[in-house]
Protein backbone atom coordinates (compact mmCIF):
# COMPACT_ATOMS: atom_id res chain seq x y z
CA UNK A 1 0.00 0.00 0.00
CA UNK A 2 1.59 3.22 -1.05
CA UNK A 3 0.67 6.86 -0.65
CA UNK A 4 -0.85 6.84 -4.14
CA UNK A 5 -3.74 4.76 -2.81
CA UNK A 6 -5.01 7.54 -0.48
CA UNK A 7 -8.58 8.49 -1.44
CA UNK A 8 -8.91 12.05 -2.67
CA UNK A 9 -5.18 12.47 -3.19
CA UNK A 10 -4.37 15.68 -5.07
CA UNK A 11 -0.59 15.72 -5.05
CA UNK A 12 2.47 14.49 -3.16
CA UNK A 13 5.34 16.84 -2.35
CA UNK A 14 8.81 16.28 -0.93
CA UNK A 15 10.70 19.12 0.71
CA UNK A 16 13.29 19.32 3.49
CA UNK A 17 13.10 15.56 3.87
CA UNK A 18 9.40 15.73 4.73
CA UNK A 19 6.54 14.29 2.73
CA UNK A 20 3.34 16.28 2.26
CA UNK A 21 0.24 14.79 0.70
CA UNK A 22 -2.46 17.23 -0.34
CA UNK A 23 -5.89 15.69 0.02
CA UNK A 24 -9.28 16.89 -1.18
CA UNK A 25 -10.87 18.46 1.92
CA UNK A 26 -14.25 16.96 1.06
CA UNK A 27 -12.83 13.44 1.31
CA UNK A 28 -10.74 13.88 4.46
CA UNK A 29 -12.67 11.23 6.45
CA UNK A 30 -12.05 8.59 3.80
CA UNK A 31 -8.41 9.58 3.54
CA UNK A 32 -7.95 9.60 7.32
CA UNK A 33 -9.53 6.15 7.71
CA UNK A 34 -7.32 4.80 4.97
CA UNK A 35 -4.20 6.35 6.50
CA UNK A 36 -5.09 5.02 9.95
CA UNK A 37 -6.28 1.53 9.05
CA UNK A 38 -4.39 0.61 5.91
CA UNK A 39 -1.17 2.61 6.09
CA UNK A 40 -0.68 2.35 9.86
CA UNK A 41 -0.51 6.00 10.85
CA UNK A 42 -1.79 5.36 14.36
CA UNK A 43 -0.56 8.57 15.96
CA UNK A 44 -1.77 12.08 15.18
CA UNK A 45 1.11 14.29 16.27
CA UNK A 46 -0.43 17.59 15.49
CA UNK A 47 -3.35 19.21 13.76
CA UNK A 48 -3.10 22.90 13.00
CA UNK A 49 -4.29 25.48 10.52
CA UNK A 50 -2.41 28.16 8.60
CA UNK A 51 -3.97 31.36 7.28
CA UNK A 52 -2.49 32.35 3.91
CA UNK A 53 -4.39 35.61 3.53
CA UNK A 54 -2.11 38.14 1.86
CA UNK A 55 0.52 35.53 1.02
CA UNK A 56 2.98 37.46 -1.16
CA UNK A 57 0.49 40.27 -1.80
CA UNK A 58 -0.53 43.54 -0.26
CA UNK A 59 0.58 43.96 3.33
CA UNK A 60 -2.05 42.92 5.85
CA UNK A 61 -2.14 43.27 9.60
CA UNK A 62 0.97 41.89 11.16
CA UNK A 63 2.78 41.62 7.86
CA UNK A 64 4.69 44.40 6.24
CA UNK A 65 7.17 43.07 3.71
CA UNK A 66 5.64 42.32 0.33
CA UNK A 67 6.52 40.87 -3.00
CA UNK A 68 7.55 44.16 -4.61
CA UNK A 69 9.75 45.59 -1.97
CA UNK A 70 9.91 46.91 1.51
CA UNK A 71 7.89 49.62 3.10
CA UNK A 72 10.51 52.22 3.93
CA UNK A 73 8.21 53.87 6.42
CA UNK A 74 8.36 50.84 8.66
CA UNK A 75 11.83 49.95 9.91
CA UNK A 76 12.83 46.34 10.19
CA UNK A 77 11.27 45.18 6.97
CA UNK A 78 13.41 43.50 4.40
CA UNK A 79 11.85 42.75 1.07
CA UNK A 80 10.98 39.23 0.07
CA UNK A 81 13.76 37.59 -1.84
CA UNK A 82 11.27 36.20 -4.37
CA UNK A 83 7.56 35.95 -4.88
CA UNK A 84 6.24 32.95 -3.00
CA UNK A 85 4.32 30.21 -4.77
CA UNK A 86 0.60 30.98 -4.83
CA UNK A 87 -1.62 28.88 -2.59
CA UNK A 88 -4.84 27.24 -3.79
CA UNK A 89 -7.09 28.55 -1.02
CA UNK A 90 -6.94 30.73 2.05
CA UNK A 91 -6.57 28.13 4.79
CA UNK A 92 -4.48 25.00 5.04
CA UNK A 93 -5.20 22.38 7.66
CA UNK A 94 -2.11 20.29 8.38
CA UNK A 95 -2.36 16.85 9.93
CA UNK A 96 1.03 15.63 11.10
CA UNK A 97 0.86 11.86 11.26
CA UNK A 98 3.28 9.40 12.73
CA UNK A 99 3.65 5.64 13.10
CA UNK A 100 4.35 4.54 16.65
CA UNK A 101 3.20 0.96 17.16
CA UNK A 102 2.27 0.02 13.61
CA UNK A 103 4.54 -0.32 10.62
CA UNK A 104 4.12 -0.05 6.88
CA UNK A 105 5.58 1.29 3.71
CA UNK A 106 6.31 4.93 3.17
CA UNK A 107 7.70 7.59 5.50
CA UNK A 108 7.47 7.39 9.29
CA UNK A 109 6.05 10.89 9.40
CA UNK A 110 3.57 12.34 6.98
CA UNK A 111 1.95 15.72 6.60
CA UNK A 112 -1.56 15.61 5.22
CA UNK A 113 -2.74 18.96 3.94
CA UNK A 114 -6.30 20.01 3.13
CA UNK A 115 -7.17 23.40 1.62
CA UNK A 116 -10.23 25.39 2.64
CA UNK A 117 -11.83 28.71 1.84
CA UNK A 118 -13.12 31.02 4.55
CA UNK A 119 -16.20 29.44 6.08
CA UNK A 120 -15.76 26.13 4.30
CA UNK A 121 -16.15 23.23 6.72
CA UNK A 122 -14.04 20.10 6.92
CA UNK A 123 -14.97 16.78 8.50
CA UNK A 124 -13.68 16.14 12.00
CA UNK A 125 -11.23 13.27 12.58
CA UNK A 126 -11.95 12.99 16.32
CA UNK A 127 -13.55 9.57 15.89
CA UNK A 128 -10.41 8.28 14.17
CA UNK A 129 -7.73 9.96 16.31
CA UNK A 130 -9.34 11.05 19.61
CA UNK A 131 -6.37 13.35 20.24
CA UNK A 132 -7.73 15.63 17.51
CA UNK A 133 -10.41 16.86 19.93
CA UNK A 134 -8.53 19.80 21.43
CA UNK A 135 -6.44 20.45 18.34
CA UNK A 136 -9.61 20.96 16.29
CA UNK A 137 -11.12 23.13 19.00
CA UNK A 138 -7.99 25.26 18.94
CA UNK A 139 -8.08 25.54 15.14
CA UNK A 140 -11.72 26.64 15.42
CA UNK A 141 -10.99 29.11 18.19
CA UNK A 142 -7.87 30.64 16.68
CA UNK A 143 -8.52 30.33 12.92
CA UNK A 144 -12.24 29.80 12.56
CA UNK A 145 -12.03 26.44 10.80
CA UNK A 146 -15.32 24.60 11.25
CA UNK A 147 -14.94 20.87 11.86
CA UNK A 148 -18.15 19.08 11.04
CA UNK A 149 -19.05 16.19 13.27
CA UNK A 150 -16.88 17.36 16.14
CA UNK A 151 -18.75 16.45 19.36
CA UNK A 152 -17.87 19.63 21.22
CA UNK A 153 -16.62 22.38 18.90
CA UNK A 154 -16.42 25.31 21.32
CA UNK A 155 -13.70 27.83 22.07
CA UNK A 156 -10.80 26.46 24.03
CA UNK A 157 -8.17 29.14 24.61
CA UNK A 158 -10.20 32.35 24.32
CA UNK A 159 -13.17 33.06 26.53
CA UNK A 160 -16.58 31.78 25.38
CA UNK A 161 -17.89 35.24 24.46
CA UNK A 162 -14.86 36.26 22.39
CA UNK A 163 -15.58 37.70 18.97
CA UNK A 164 -13.41 36.78 16.01
CA UNK A 165 -10.59 34.34 15.54
CA UNK A 166 -7.37 35.92 16.78
CA UNK A 167 -4.84 33.97 14.78
CA UNK A 168 -6.22 35.04 11.41
CA UNK A 169 -4.00 37.37 9.44
CA UNK A 170 -6.71 40.03 9.27
CA UNK A 171 -7.16 40.07 13.01
CA UNK A 172 -5.21 43.06 14.33
CA UNK A 173 -2.49 42.76 16.91
CA UNK A 174 -3.44 44.23 20.24
CA UNK A 175 -6.96 43.76 18.93
CA UNK A 176 -8.86 44.64 22.06
CA UNK A 177 -10.79 47.87 21.72
CA UNK A 178 -9.27 50.65 23.81
CA UNK A 179 -11.27 53.52 25.20
CA UNK A 180 -9.95 57.10 25.18
CA UNK A 181 -7.90 56.73 22.03
CA UNK A 182 -6.77 59.72 19.95
CA UNK A 183 -9.93 59.58 17.86
CA UNK A 184 -12.18 60.40 20.78
Amino acid sequence: MSLASIPGLVETMEAHGETTVVVDAARITEAALHLHDELGYDFLSDLSAVDYLGWGEEPVAGYWGNAWGRDLNIPGTAALSRTPEPKPKRFAVNYHLLRVAASGEGPQRLRVQAWLDDGEPVASVVSIWPTADWHEREAWDMMGIRFEGHPNLVRILMSDDWAGHPHRKDYPIGGEPVRFSDAE
Binding site: E18, H34, F43, D51, W55
Partner: protein
Protein backbone atom coordinates in the same frame (compact mmCIF):
# COMPACT_ATOMS: atom_id res chain seq x y z
CA UNK B 1 -20.48 4.57 2.29
CA UNK B 2 -19.51 2.04 4.93
CA UNK B 3 -15.84 2.94 4.96
CA UNK B 4 -16.51 6.54 5.90
CA UNK B 5 -18.71 5.76 8.91
CA UNK B 6 -17.09 7.51 11.86
CA UNK B 7 -16.13 5.22 14.70
CA UNK B 8 -16.50 5.64 18.41
CA UNK B 9 -13.88 4.33 20.78
CA UNK B 10 -15.24 0.86 21.44
CA UNK B 11 -13.41 -1.39 23.84
CA UNK B 12 -11.36 1.46 25.27
CA UNK B 13 -11.68 3.57 28.39
CA UNK B 14 -11.76 6.76 26.34
CA UNK B 15 -15.06 8.56 27.02
CA UNK B 16 -17.42 8.87 24.09
CA UNK B 17 -18.50 10.86 22.13
CA UNK B 18 -16.13 13.57 23.41
CA UNK B 19 -12.84 11.92 24.33
CA UNK B 20 -11.87 14.63 26.80
CA UNK B 21 -15.11 14.91 28.75
CA UNK B 22 -16.30 12.35 31.26
CA UNK B 23 -20.07 12.66 31.36
CA UNK B 24 -22.28 11.69 34.28
CA UNK B 25 -24.36 8.65 33.26
CA UNK B 26 -28.03 9.50 32.92
CA UNK B 27 -29.23 6.91 35.42
CA UNK B 28 -26.79 8.27 38.02
CA UNK B 29 -27.86 11.83 37.36
CA UNK B 30 -31.39 10.93 38.41
CA UNK B 31 -30.71 8.52 41.26
CA UNK B 32 -27.63 9.87 43.00
CA UNK B 33 -26.90 13.16 44.69
CA UNK B 34 -24.37 14.66 42.29
CA UNK B 35 -22.17 17.46 43.60
CA UNK B 36 -20.49 19.69 41.05
CA UNK B 37 -17.16 21.12 42.17
CA UNK B 38 -14.96 23.67 40.47
CA UNK B 39 -11.34 22.74 40.98
CA UNK B 40 -9.10 25.63 40.09
CA UNK B 41 -8.19 27.68 38.11
CA UNK B 42 -6.34 29.05 41.09
CA UNK B 43 -5.29 26.05 43.09
CA UNK B 44 -1.70 25.18 44.03
CA UNK B 45 -1.86 21.62 42.73
CA UNK B 46 -3.05 22.52 39.25
CA UNK B 47 0.54 23.27 38.14
CA UNK B 48 -0.52 26.67 36.97
CA UNK B 49 -4.04 27.70 36.10
CA UNK B 50 -5.96 24.60 35.15
CA UNK B 51 -9.66 24.43 35.86
CA UNK B 52 -11.39 21.10 36.28
CA UNK B 53 -15.16 20.89 36.51
CA UNK B 54 -15.79 17.74 38.47
CA UNK B 55 -19.05 15.96 39.26
CA UNK B 56 -18.86 13.88 42.40
CA UNK B 57 -20.97 11.05 43.66
CA UNK B 58 -19.72 10.94 47.22
CA UNK B 59 -15.97 10.47 46.92
CA UNK B 60 -15.91 9.08 43.41
CA UNK B 61 -15.55 11.16 40.27
CA UNK B 62 -18.40 10.52 37.84
CA UNK B 63 -17.91 13.50 35.54
CA UNK B 64 -14.92 15.57 34.58
CA UNK B 65 -14.06 18.30 32.16
CA UNK B 66 -10.81 20.23 31.88
CA UNK B 67 -11.06 23.92 31.01
CA UNK B 68 -7.91 25.64 29.81
CA UNK B 69 -6.91 28.96 28.30
CA UNK B 70 -6.32 30.98 31.47
CA UNK B 71 -2.69 31.46 30.57
CA UNK B 72 -3.16 32.09 26.86
CA UNK B 73 -0.61 34.70 25.80
CA UNK B 74 -0.66 34.44 22.03
CA UNK B 75 2.98 33.44 21.70
CA UNK B 76 2.43 31.99 18.24
CA UNK B 77 0.85 35.16 16.92
CA UNK B 78 3.50 37.33 18.57
CA UNK B 79 6.24 35.32 16.92
CA UNK B 80 4.76 36.16 13.52
CA UNK B 81 5.45 39.84 14.23
CA UNK B 82 9.11 39.38 15.11
CA UNK B 83 12.09 38.80 12.89
CA UNK B 84 13.42 35.22 12.99
CA UNK B 85 16.18 36.35 15.26
CA UNK B 86 13.89 38.07 17.75
CA UNK B 87 11.31 35.29 17.79
CA UNK B 88 13.69 32.89 19.55
CA UNK B 89 13.14 34.19 23.12
CA UNK B 90 9.40 33.54 22.85
CA UNK B 91 9.82 29.79 22.47
CA UNK B 92 11.38 28.97 25.86
CA UNK B 93 8.73 30.97 27.67
CA UNK B 94 6.03 28.47 26.75
CA UNK B 95 7.32 25.50 28.69
CA UNK B 96 9.09 27.28 31.52
CA UNK B 97 10.51 24.08 33.02
CA UNK B 98 12.01 22.49 29.90
CA UNK B 99 12.70 25.85 28.29
CA UNK B 100 15.67 24.83 26.20
CA UNK B 101 13.73 22.08 24.46
CA UNK B 102 11.32 24.66 23.07
CA UNK B 103 14.17 26.95 22.17
CA UNK B 104 15.93 24.11 20.39
CA UNK B 105 12.80 23.02 18.50
CA UNK B 106 12.29 26.49 17.04
CA UNK B 107 15.94 27.06 16.23
CA UNK B 108 16.19 23.60 14.65
CA UNK B 109 13.12 24.27 12.50
CA UNK B 110 14.58 27.54 11.21
CA UNK B 111 17.92 25.84 10.58
CA UNK B 112 16.12 23.13 8.64
CA UNK B 113 14.51 25.75 6.41
CA UNK B 114 17.82 27.55 5.95
CA UNK B 115 19.70 24.32 5.33
CA UNK B 116 22.48 25.53 7.60
CA UNK B 117 24.96 23.11 9.11
CA UNK B 118 25.66 23.40 12.82
CA UNK B 119 29.27 22.76 13.97
CA UNK B 120 29.73 19.57 16.04
CA UNK B 121 30.71 21.41 19.21
CA UNK B 122 27.38 23.24 19.21
CA UNK B 123 25.51 20.01 18.46
CA UNK B 124 27.02 18.23 21.45
CA UNK B 125 26.66 21.22 23.75
CA UNK B 126 22.99 21.52 22.79
CA UNK B 127 22.46 17.87 23.61
CA UNK B 128 24.24 18.28 26.93
CA UNK B 129 22.11 21.26 27.90
CA UNK B 130 18.88 19.60 26.74
CA UNK B 131 19.60 16.66 29.02
CA UNK B 132 20.44 18.93 31.95
CA UNK B 133 17.19 20.67 31.20
CA UNK B 134 15.31 17.37 31.20
CA UNK B 135 16.70 16.61 34.66
CA UNK B 136 15.73 20.11 35.78
CA UNK B 137 12.18 19.64 34.57
CA UNK B 138 11.84 16.18 36.13
CA UNK B 139 13.17 17.51 39.44
CA UNK B 140 10.55 20.23 39.61
CA UNK B 141 7.91 17.69 38.59
CA UNK B 142 8.98 15.24 41.28
CA UNK B 143 9.22 17.85 44.00
CA UNK B 144 5.86 19.44 43.35
CA UNK B 145 3.96 16.22 42.59
CA UNK B 146 5.21 14.58 45.76
CA UNK B 147 4.38 17.72 47.67
CA UNK B 148 0.80 17.59 46.45
CA UNK B 149 0.47 14.05 47.74
CA UNK B 150 1.73 15.09 51.14
CA UNK B 151 5.43 14.24 50.89
CA UNK B 152 7.15 17.48 51.79
CA UNK B 153 10.79 16.36 52.08
CA UNK B 154 11.47 15.43 48.42
CA UNK B 155 10.64 19.00 47.45
CA UNK B 156 13.59 20.36 49.43
CA UNK B 157 15.93 17.68 48.15
CA UNK B 158 14.97 18.08 44.48
CA UNK B 159 15.31 21.85 44.60
CA UNK B 160 18.82 21.42 45.96
CA UNK B 161 19.86 19.63 42.74
CA UNK B 162 17.71 21.92 40.62
CA UNK B 163 19.71 24.85 41.90
CA UNK B 164 22.95 23.21 40.85
CA UNK B 165 21.57 22.88 37.31
CA UNK B 166 20.44 26.49 37.29
CA UNK B 167 23.94 27.48 38.42
CA UNK B 168 25.30 25.64 35.39
CA UNK B 169 22.88 27.46 33.09
CA UNK B 170 23.86 30.75 34.65
CA UNK B 171 27.50 29.96 34.11
CA UNK B 172 26.90 29.17 30.44
CA UNK B 173 24.35 31.74 29.38
CA UNK B 174 24.18 34.34 32.12
CA UNK B 175 20.54 33.61 32.84
CA UNK B 176 19.20 30.91 35.11
CA UNK B 177 16.01 30.29 33.17
CA UNK B 178 15.02 31.12 29.59
CA UNK B 179 18.65 31.14 28.63
CA UNK B 180 18.37 32.01 24.94
CA UNK B 181 21.66 30.28 24.48
CA UNK B 182 20.77 28.53 21.23
CA UNK B 183 21.37 30.75 18.26
CA UNK B 184 20.41 29.97 14.69
CA UNK B 185 23.57 28.28 13.47
CA UNK B 186 24.94 27.19 16.84
CA UNK B 187 25.38 28.71 20.28
CA UNK B 188 25.21 32.35 21.29
CA UNK B 189 28.59 32.27 23.02
CA UNK B 190 31.48 29.94 23.61
CA UNK B 191 31.31 27.56 26.58
CA UNK B 192 33.05 29.08 29.62
CA UNK B 193 36.03 27.06 30.82
CA UNK B 194 34.75 26.53 34.35
CA UNK B 195 31.64 24.78 33.09
CA UNK B 196 33.17 21.36 32.53
CA UNK B 197 34.48 20.83 36.06
CA UNK B 198 31.30 22.06 37.65
CA UNK B 199 29.18 19.89 35.34
CA UNK B 200 31.31 16.81 36.11
CA UNK B 201 30.79 17.46 39.78
CA UNK B 202 27.07 17.57 39.18
CA UNK B 203 27.23 14.24 37.31
CA UNK B 204 28.82 12.68 40.37
CA UNK B 205 26.14 14.03 42.68
CA UNK B 206 23.06 13.40 40.58
CA UNK B 207 22.79 9.56 40.56
CA UNK B 208 23.21 9.50 44.34
CA UNK B 209 20.55 12.18 44.64
CA UNK B 210 18.11 10.09 42.59
CA UNK B 211 18.77 7.18 44.97
CA UNK B 212 17.98 9.52 47.81
CA UNK B 213 14.64 10.56 46.33
CA UNK B 214 13.72 6.94 45.76
CA UNK B 215 14.73 6.06 49.30
CA UNK B 216 12.27 8.67 50.52
CA UNK B 217 9.37 7.54 48.33
CA UNK B 218 9.70 3.93 47.21
CA UNK B 219 8.98 2.40 50.63
CA UNK B 220 6.59 5.08 51.76
CA UNK B 221 3.21 3.37 52.33
CA UNK B 222 1.23 6.55 51.65
CA UNK B 223 3.07 7.21 48.39
CA UNK B 224 2.60 3.58 47.32
CA UNK B 225 -1.10 3.59 48.14
CA UNK B 226 -1.71 6.83 46.31
CA UNK B 227 0.17 6.00 43.13
CA UNK B 228 -0.07 2.23 42.48
CA UNK B 229 -2.97 1.29 40.26
CA UNK B 230 -4.20 4.89 40.10
CA UNK B 231 -4.98 6.70 36.85
CA UNK B 232 -4.41 3.74 34.55
CA UNK B 233 -3.89 4.46 30.86
CA UNK B 234 -3.50 1.52 28.49
CA UNK B 235 -1.00 1.53 25.63
CA UNK B 236 -3.72 1.64 22.95
CA UNK B 237 -5.52 4.52 24.66
CA UNK B 238 -2.27 6.39 25.11
CA UNK B 239 -1.48 6.16 21.40
CA UNK B 240 -5.03 7.07 20.39
CA UNK B 241 -4.92 10.08 22.69
CA UNK B 242 -1.58 11.17 21.24
CA UNK B 243 0.31 10.78 24.49
CA UNK B 244 4.07 10.95 24.38
CA UNK B 245 7.09 11.08 26.62
CA UNK B 246 6.97 9.58 30.13
CA UNK B 247 3.18 9.12 29.94
CA UNK B 248 3.46 6.93 26.84
CA UNK B 249 6.50 5.06 28.13
CA UNK B 250 4.81 4.49 31.46
CA UNK B 251 2.01 2.78 29.52
CA UNK B 252 4.37 0.24 28.01
CA UNK B 253 5.13 1.77 24.62
CA UNK B 254 8.81 1.84 23.84
CA UNK B 255 8.85 5.14 22.00
CA UNK B 256 11.42 7.87 22.41
CA UNK B 257 12.20 10.31 19.62
CA UNK B 258 15.83 10.38 20.72
CA UNK B 259 15.93 6.72 19.76
CA UNK B 260 13.32 6.56 16.99
CA UNK B 261 14.44 9.61 15.03
CA UNK B 262 17.87 10.49 16.45
CA UNK B 263 18.59 14.19 16.23
CA UNK B 264 21.61 16.12 17.52
CA UNK B 265 24.20 13.51 18.60
CA UNK B 266 21.77 11.10 20.27
CA UNK B 267 22.77 8.43 17.77
CA UNK B 268 26.32 8.52 19.11
CA UNK B 269 25.71 8.16 22.83
CA UNK B 270 24.58 5.17 24.85
CA UNK B 271 21.44 5.36 26.87
CA UNK B 272 18.44 3.20 27.71
CA UNK B 273 14.82 4.12 27.22
CA UNK B 274 12.97 3.31 30.43
CA UNK B 275 9.62 1.62 29.76
CA UNK B 276 7.08 0.48 32.37
CA UNK B 277 4.07 -1.67 31.72
CA UNK B 278 1.14 -0.75 33.97
CA UNK B 279 0.41 2.82 32.90
CA UNK B 280 -0.45 4.04 36.39
CA UNK B 281 0.88 7.02 38.32
CA UNK B 282 3.54 4.84 39.92
CA UNK B 283 4.95 3.76 36.56
CA UNK B 284 5.07 7.33 35.30
CA UNK B 285 6.96 8.23 38.46
CA UNK B 286 9.39 5.36 37.87
CA UNK B 287 9.96 6.42 34.25
CA UNK B 288 10.82 9.93 35.41
CA UNK B 289 13.29 8.59 37.97
CA UNK B 290 15.04 6.31 35.49
CA UNK B 291 15.15 9.07 32.90
CA UNK B 292 17.05 11.29 35.28
CA UNK B 293 19.70 8.58 35.62
CA UNK B 294 19.85 8.08 31.86
CA UNK B 295 20.10 11.82 31.24
CA UNK B 296 23.02 12.02 33.64
CA UNK B 297 24.64 9.24 31.63
CA UNK B 298 24.18 11.24 28.43
CA UNK B 299 25.54 14.41 30.06
CA UNK B 300 28.64 12.51 31.15
CA UNK B 301 29.19 11.13 27.64
CA UNK B 302 28.60 14.56 26.13
CA UNK B 303 31.25 16.04 28.43
CA UNK B 304 33.73 13.39 27.28
CA UNK B 305 32.78 13.53 23.64
CA UNK B 306 32.41 17.29 23.18
CA UNK B 307 34.51 18.03 20.10
CA UNK B 308 36.63 21.18 19.87
CA UNK B 309 36.13 23.77 17.19
CA UNK B 310 33.81 26.66 16.42
CA UNK B 311 30.58 27.03 18.39
CA UNK B 312 28.55 28.69 15.65
CA UNK B 313 28.33 28.22 11.90
CA UNK B 314 30.38 30.48 9.67
CA UNK B 315 27.51 31.86 7.63
CA UNK B 316 27.45 35.63 7.78
CA UNK B 317 24.03 35.72 6.15
CA UNK B 318 22.40 34.66 9.40
CA UNK B 319 25.11 34.63 12.07
CA UNK B 320 26.22 37.77 13.85
CA UNK B 321 29.83 38.85 13.18
CA UNK B 322 32.23 38.04 16.03
CA UNK B 323 32.14 40.54 18.89
CA UNK B 324 35.78 41.59 18.55
CA UNK B 325 35.33 42.55 14.90
CA UNK B 326 32.78 45.21 15.86
CA UNK B 327 35.55 47.31 17.37
CA UNK B 328 37.76 47.29 14.31
CA UNK B 329 35.60 46.76 11.21
CA UNK B 330 33.00 49.24 10.05
CA UNK B 331 31.46 46.64 7.72
CA UNK B 332 31.01 44.18 10.53
CA UNK B 333 29.34 46.83 12.65
CA UNK B 334 26.92 47.73 9.85
CA UNK B 335 26.30 44.06 9.22
CA UNK B 336 25.60 43.44 12.90
CA UNK B 337 23.20 46.37 12.98
CA UNK B 338 21.35 45.19 9.91
CA UNK B 339 21.04 41.63 11.14
CA UNK B 340 19.61 42.78 14.46
CA UNK B 341 17.22 45.41 13.11
CA UNK B 342 16.16 44.02 9.72
CA UNK B 343 16.90 40.41 10.34
CA UNK B 344 17.57 37.90 7.61
CA UNK B 345 15.24 36.11 5.25
CA UNK B 346 14.48 32.42 5.39
CA UNK B 347 13.63 30.51 2.18
CA UNK B 348 9.98 29.78 1.51
CA UNK B 349 8.74 26.46 2.83
CA UNK B 350 7.24 24.62 5.74
CA UNK B 351 8.85 22.21 8.18
CA UNK B 352 7.81 20.24 11.22
CA UNK B 353 10.54 19.43 13.71
CA UNK B 354 9.79 17.08 16.58
CA UNK B 355 12.05 16.75 19.60
CA UNK B 356 11.70 14.71 22.77
CA UNK B 357 11.23 17.35 25.44
CA UNK B 358 10.94 16.41 29.11
CA UNK B 359 7.20 15.99 28.56
CA UNK B 360 7.17 14.17 25.25
CA UNK B 361 6.92 15.03 21.60
CA UNK B 362 7.41 18.74 21.22
CA UNK B 363 6.70 19.63 17.64
CA UNK B 364 7.48 22.95 16.01
CA UNK B 365 5.81 23.71 12.71
CA UNK B 366 7.29 26.72 10.95
CA UNK B 367 6.09 28.18 7.68
CA UNK B 368 8.05 30.86 5.84
CA UNK B 369 7.08 32.95 2.82
CA UNK B 370 10.69 33.84 2.16
CA UNK B 371 10.43 37.01 4.20
CA UNK B 372 12.13 38.34 7.32
CA UNK B 373 9.42 37.03 9.67
CA UNK B 374 7.85 33.64 10.25
CA UNK B 375 4.55 33.33 8.39
CA UNK B 376 3.25 30.86 10.91
CA UNK B 377 4.74 29.23 13.97
CA UNK B 378 2.90 26.43 15.68
CA UNK B 379 4.00 24.48 18.71
CA UNK B 380 2.63 21.02 19.27
CA UNK B 381 2.83 21.17 23.04
CA UNK B 382 3.09 17.78 24.78
CA UNK B 383 1.33 19.13 27.89
CA UNK B 384 -1.65 20.28 25.84
CA UNK B 385 -2.07 16.75 24.54
CA UNK B 386 -1.34 15.14 27.92
CA UNK B 387 -4.23 17.01 29.54
CA UNK B 388 -6.60 15.39 27.06
CA UNK B 389 -5.93 12.08 28.81
CA UNK B 390 -7.28 13.36 32.15
CA UNK B 391 -10.83 12.15 31.50
CA UNK B 392 -9.67 8.67 30.46
CA UNK B 393 -7.34 8.31 33.45
CA UNK B 394 -10.02 9.55 35.83
CA UNK B 395 -12.82 7.18 34.82
CA UNK B 396 -13.81 5.34 38.01
CA UNK B 397 -11.31 7.16 40.25
CA UNK B 398 -11.69 8.95 43.55
CA UNK B 399 -11.52 12.71 43.93
CA UNK B 400 -8.26 12.48 45.88
CA UNK B 401 -6.69 10.58 42.97
CA UNK B 402 -7.32 13.55 40.72
CA UNK B 403 -4.34 15.40 42.22
CA UNK B 404 -2.12 12.38 41.67
CA UNK B 405 -3.32 11.89 38.09
CA UNK B 406 -3.05 15.51 36.99
CA UNK B 407 0.37 15.68 38.63
CA UNK B 408 1.57 12.52 36.92
CA UNK B 409 0.63 13.82 33.47
CA UNK B 410 3.34 16.43 34.07
CA UNK B 411 1.71 19.43 32.47
CA UNK B 412 3.02 22.96 32.34
CA UNK B 413 0.17 25.37 31.79
CA UNK B 414 2.33 27.93 30.03
CA UNK B 415 2.78 25.39 27.29
CA UNK B 416 -0.82 24.18 27.32
CA UNK B 417 -2.25 27.64 26.71
CA UNK B 418 0.66 29.20 24.83
Amino acid sequence: MAATQPRIYEGTRIPSPTPTILRVPDELRESADILEVNFGPNHPSTHGVLRLIVQLDGESVVGLQAVIGYLHTGFEKSMEQKTWWKAIPYAPRMDYLAFQANEYAFVAAVEKLLGIEVPPKAVWMRMLLLELNRIHSHLVWLGTSALELGAISPFWYTFRERDRILDLFELVAGARMHTRYFQIGGLAEDIPSGFFDQCREFCEVMPKAVDQYEAMLDQNPIWLARTKGVGVLSAEDAIALGQSGPVLRGSGVNWDLRRAEPYLAYGQVEFDVPVKQNGDVWDRYKVHMDEMRESTRIVRQALDGLPPGPWIADDRKVVLPPREELHTSMESLIHHFKLVTEGFTVPEGEVYVAVESARGELGCYVCSDGGPRPWRVRFRAPSFVALQATATCMSDALVADMIAVVGSLDTVMGEVDR
